[in-house]
């Protein structure tokens, strides 16, 4: 079996085809979906998450800004890691505006867990309520892959050096690559000459390279 990159949080939830997206005046949601793909996210997951949020009881938010915030959370949920900081802001804003049901639907969790999730994500970028207290090590994500299968690398990833919160430098052949990851998404890019480790580790999380695979594994260690 060929293993593909992906995040465990998506393992149980497959995006489904649904009805047409509601029309929101002033926002081009089709453009947003295309941009999610351009920014490295899953366009279908964004589509289904945002629809779920807009259909949730007590939604459709009347303000354009609220829909835009909901879209940011949906794009983050769909793997756009570049939106992480703004999505956490948007998540807080949605909660402030009484849209807990909508964001819960977007994220795929019970409304009662949303506030705790938002708070915990600020200190632990890999936190997911369903995994709390699991008591064993578990896989968070697989990252990278062979160029011939659509991945970034021509050689097996080698040594992994922690480079900050959610950041790692990886030796791949003669090149140095930079990996950034959180619960929902990741980014892999050639490290610039200024890339440096800031000696900040990600507590309880390890990135492991396996000699027989082109994929890196992000693993939560047993508590």
């Amino acid at each position: 079996m060929i293993r593909r990159p992906g995040h465990s949080v998506n393992a149980a939830a497959h995006p489904a085809e649904t009805a047409a997206m509601p029309v929101v005046v002033g926002l081009d949601l089709e453009l947003a979906a295309a941009n999610v793909a351009r920014f490295g996210g899953d366009e279908r997951r964004f589509d289904s998450s945002l629809r779920a949020g807009l259909r949730a009881p007590g939604s459709l938010p009347s303000e354009t800004q609220a829909v835009q915030d909901l879209a940011a959370v949906a794009a983050w949920r769909a793997g756009v890691i570049g939106l992480r900081t703004d999505a956490l802001r948007a998540l807080g804003s949605c909660l402030d505006h009484g849209l807990a049901d909508a964001v819960a639907a977007v994220l795929g969790m019970p409304p009662t867990s949303v506030a705790e999730f938002a708070e915990a994500q600020r200190t632990d970028r890999f936190f997911w309520p369903a995994w709390r207290g699991l008591g064993r090590a578990y896989l968070i994500a697989r990252i990278g892959g062979f160029t011939g299968l659509g991945g970034p690398w021509l050689a097996h990833p080698g040594e992994v050096i922690p480079a900050g919160e959610g950041r790692w430098l990886v030796e791949v052949g003669e090149e140095l690559w930079e990996v950034t990851a959180d619960l929902f998404g990741h980014s892999v890019s050639l490290a610039g000459d200024d890339a440096a480790s800031d000696d900040t580790d990600t507590p309880g999380v390890r990135v492991v390279s396996i000699p027989t695979s082109y994929l890196l594994e992000v693993v939560r260690e047993a508590a």
């Binding site: 999610v36 890691i81 570049g82 980014s187």
Partner: protein
């Protein structure tokens, strides 16, 4: 019907830079912006390049390569030809160089026989600057033997010529092309010498003069670039091009012929009656502000110290000639040339040096500061265009044949051209690349990438003289003298030693003057 010209390359055009999108910095608003609004300027320039090369001028000649060491090489025929298949993106020089000229606000000469797309490319550059195709064609200056200065810059109003009491009262009807952001002079080697001089003033000084009145030719906003075409680069044409005007041209690029394997596109164009300049996608047009920002970004690309050192080594080869003068400082090709001497004969008289090792023996002149500045700017533009964070040796190597063509002149008496690689005698681009590659091999063979005593001494002085005591200064003077002694003992002197020795004398002067001052105090 969908306009087939409007398709542009999908971003990103640089492979393997990002997998999974940017790692931070996005906001919710970015989700609702069209890709055209958020595309970076370097990406826009790359997309423009690919549109030009794939849609507009059909130039499948990928001669600018960036990974010479890793490319696969296949020998062809029995005359030493080979074709290389690079592993990194390669580019077509006759499109890349005009486009980089557009980006840096330079001056590009395109040479080649008739019907090779030179004028079309120049007109396309005008359209990329935002001008309408018909305006660009109207502003194009067609070189011809009767072209007068008035034809070029404009006429005094006849009414004023009769009634004016002084030159200041004469109104000049300036030609509108003078302030265009992209200026095109077609077949510039057919322009009479006097008119060439007026052109030189515009190119060099940025103004024109007529009847004691001046007009600035730089555009009010954006960046000005010039495109010249000629079907001869060896002094032919109706009029000899004045050397001062030739010296002002930043890059010279050869236009290629049409590849017969791409005839289908030609047939389509004939059938549709289409011209590429009338179909430039709006998304590829650069506003004046974008051009200004692009130039600032290119200038800001760093040139690392190790690349600069290699560039210094290469350019230092050419000024020195052993029998150029009596004093050491005067032993240069320029001293010989300005005294009316035969530089080739003076080089030939140097029986002490190995002509194969002495790269300077292959040229009749050294490099001007203007040429060096141009090389630096175009190397930065190359790095920026390729999405690199800083200039690499490959960027310098790629630009050398186009920037130095016509500026670094081959010595036809050198055995290289007489008996060696005869093809190099009429292929200046390959010769210049070979010259650069040989210099880089020498640089490594001499261990200068690891050990650079003169560079260390210069860096030490760069730290400043303030606070240095007499003992420290004396020690440094001793080190300088021992370095001069080391070169002196070798017995043979090359161009690379000339620059080092002049720099060592400069250091010696700075320290000894400071020591005198200390002792006087």
């Amino acid at each position: 019907m969908k306009d087939r010209w409007q398709k542009t390359s999908a971003s990103p055009t640089v492979p393997h830079v990002h997998h999974g999108g940017p790692r931070d910095g996005l906001t919710a608003a970015d989700l609702f912006r069209s890709p055209e609004e958020t595309v970076a300027l370097d990406e826009k320039l790359r997309r423009t390049y690919f549109w030009l090369v794939n849609k507009a001028v059909i130039s499948p000649f990928y001669d600018v390569e960036f990974d010479a060491a890793k490319a696969n090489r296949f020998p062809l025929g029995d005359a030493g030809a080979e074709i290389t298949l690079p592993t990194q993106p390669a580019y077509s020089s006759n499109v890349l160089l005009p486009l980089l000229t557009f980006a840096v606000g330079g001056k590009c000469l395109m040479i080649g026989g008739p019907g090779r797309g030179k004028t079309t490319l120049a007109v396309l550059m005008g359209v990329l600057s935002g001008a309408a195709p018909e305006d660009v064609r109207r502003h194009l200056q067609q070189g011809q033997p009767q072209l007068t200065v008035s034809d070029l810059v404009g006429l005094p109003l006849p009414r004023d010529l009769v009634s004016a009491g002084s030159l200041e009262e004469i109104t000049i009807a300036w030609k509108s092309w003078l302030t265009a952001r992209v200026k095109i002079v077609d077949e510039y080697n057919r322009i009479p010498t006097k008119t060439q001089s007026a052109l030189l003033t515009m190119v060099a000084e940025g103004y024109v003069e007529s009847h004691d009145q001046l007009r600035r030719t730089a555009p009010e906003e954006g960046v000005e670039s010039w495109f010249f075409t000629a079907n001869d680069d060896a002094g032919g044409g109706t009029f000899q091009v004045i050397q001062a005007l030739k010296d002002r041209l930043d890059v010279t690029v050869q236009a290629f012929g049409f590849n017969g394997r791409f005839f289908d596109e030609l047939v389509t164009r004939v059938e549709a009656g289409e011209r590429p300049e009338e179909h430039v996608p709006d998304s590829l047009v650069f506003s004046p502000d974008e051009q200004t920002a692009m130039l600032a970004a290119i200038r800001a690309v760093p040139l690392p110290a190790d690349v600069r050192r290699r560039l210094e080594y290469f350019t230092g080869q050419f000024e020195f000639v052993q029998h150029g003068g009596q004093r050491f400082e005067y032993r240069t090709k320029d001293v010989v040339a300005t005294a009316g001497g035969d530089v080739g004969a003076v080089i030939d008289a140097n029986s002490g040096a190995d002509l194969v090792v002495d790269l300077g023996a292959q040229t009749l002149n050294g490099l001007s500061v203007r040429a060096l500045q141009t090389l630096i700017l175009y190397a930065k533009a190359s790095a920026w265009f390729r999405g690199a964070a800083e200039v690499g040796v490959d960027d310098v190597r790629a630009m050398v044949p186009f920037v130095l063509r016509g500026k670094l002149l081959p010595n036809p008496q050198h055995p290289r051209f007489e008996a060696g690689d005869k093809e190099l005698a009429h292929d200046p681009a390959s010769w210049l690349t070979d010259l650069f590659d040989t210099a880089m091999k020498q640089f490594v063979a001499l261990g200068l990438d690891r050990d650079d005593p003169v560079g260390d001494l210069l860096a030490e002085l760069g730290g400043g003289l303030d606070g240095l005591d007499r003992l420290t200064v004396s020690r440094r003077l001793t080190r300088i003298e021992s370095e001069v002694r080391r070169i002196s003992k070798v017995g043979k002197i090359y161009g690379r030693d000339y620059d080092d020795l002049v720099a060592l004398k400069y250091l010696h002067q700075r320290y000894s003057n400071y020591l005198h001052w200390l002792e006087g105090a």
